[in-house]
């Protein structure tokens, strides 16, 4: 929720970049969060025909440049981990942008399970 509220679309909560994977078999304690892994050899970057996905050499994080995106969904198909999501409202994919260096998910996680360091 924090993620969706941190990335609003026209005043409404946007698409969450962090997801909870629940267990199809219902094993206890399974629920795990998944989020962009900022892969070294990234499938999304290799698939993008418009160079809209780029890695900041300073931080190593991969960012999505909306202005360059052509909305072909290649990155959504290519991400092997299901961490690239399509946002209907903007016709663009969304991915974790680390909130520009201060991830709100980690800040608001009440149990301290999410840590950013």
């Amino acid at each position: 929720m924090t993620c969706a509220f941190s990335h609003p679309v026209e005043g409404q909560p946007g698409t969450s970049r962090i997801r909870i994977a629940s267990d199809p078999q219902g094993r206890p304690g399974f629920s795990k969060m998944t989020i962009c892994l900022q892969c070294e050899d990234a499938g999304c970057v290799a698939a993008c025909p418009a160079n809209a996905l780029w890695r900041d050499p300073a931080t190593g994080a991969i960012y999505h440049k909306t202005d360059r995106c052509i909305g072909c969904q290649s990155c959504v198909l290519a991400c092997p981990f299901g961490n690239m999501h399509w946002e209907e409202a903007t016709n663009h994919p969304v991915k974790c942008d680390l909130c520009g260096g201060d991830p709100k998910c980690a800040k608001f996680c009440p149990s301290g399970a999410l840590v950013f360091k």
Binding site: P24, T34, G43, A78, F81, H85
Partner: protein, 253 residues
């Protein structure tokens, strides 16, 4: 180098356009046909600005498109002069007659105080919201497969696959529709098929749950482009997320 934009000295680099320099400096210039991923073409004329080159008489100016005009030493640019506003209004009247329902055109028209157009509306238009900006054709040509193009001339000019027939080259990726500034390109998604530009594509079902992924053609195109197996692309986002969770579960303690 330094150029003057609305009287303010702004840093510009050799080879870039007035639009690039202005936007970097935070000066607003409206555009409809500009897209960062492709070359500019000066199609929509919304970015018209008034310039004066070094050495020109005080009262001599020229109207140019900011998206195509290269910066040069001593250039002076006015982005919101009476002449610029008058020109943009005129262009918006033409665009409004062509595509009265297009949201992006209406927003700009309202901003420039254009309420109605003195020109007659287009009748029986195939793509009523298309303003012929050419982002779709430039994107497809430069970055995807070049399946669509402009054809005919003057008032008959249209965008579409060659000869108006379903294009073999199209991979159904929807880049044209997604990057269209006026949402002019219709796409029909039924959950199992996608129809665009008169061609119907089957959507490959997710290998795990059967939900639609991409078109066969786009997946094959991606496999070739990235050197990965086509099967890599045939799992939906939700199933990939679950598989990632499964891995975390296996390796967590």
């Amino acid at each position: 180098m330094k150029i003057l934009i609305n009287g303010r000295a702004v840093t510009a680099f050799k080879g870039e356009t007035v639009l690039t320099a202005a936007r970097r400096a935070g000066v607003e210039i409206p555009t409809l046909c500009h897209h960062e991923a492709v070359e500019d073409s000066g199609a929509c004329r919304m970015c018209m600005v008034e310039i004066r080159e070094a050495g020109w008489d005080e009262d001599r100016t020229k109207l140019v498109t900011a998206c195509l005009f290269p910066v040069e030493e001593g250039l002076s640019v006015q982005t919101d002069s009476p002449e610029v506003r008058r020109t943009r209004k005129e262009i918006l009247e033409l665009l409004l007659a062509r595509s009265p329902e297009a949201e992006a055109v209406r927003v700009l028209a309202a901003k420039y105080g254009v309420e109605s157009s003195p020109y007659p509306d287009r009748e029986d238009a195939e793509l009523p919201n298309c303003i012929l900006c050419g982002i779709c054709t430039r994107v497809c040509q430069a970055l995807v497969t070049g399946a669509i193009t402009m054809s005919e001339r003057g008032p008959n000019k249209i965008v579409g696959p060659p000869f108006g027939e379903a294009a073999d080259a199209c991979i159904g990726c929807m880049a044209c529709a997604s990057s269209c500034p006026t949402n002019a390109i219709p796409v029909e998604d039924t959950g199992t098929t996608r129809t665009i530009w008169g061609r119907t594509f089957d959507l490959v079902p997710c290998a795990i749950c059967g939900a639609p992924t991409g078109t066969r053609e786009q997946i094959d195109w991606l496999a070739k482009k990235t050197g990965r197996a086509a099967a890599d692309f045939e799992i939906c986002v939700a199933c990939k997320t679950k598989a990632t969770g499964e891995v975390w579960h296996r390796i967590s303690w």
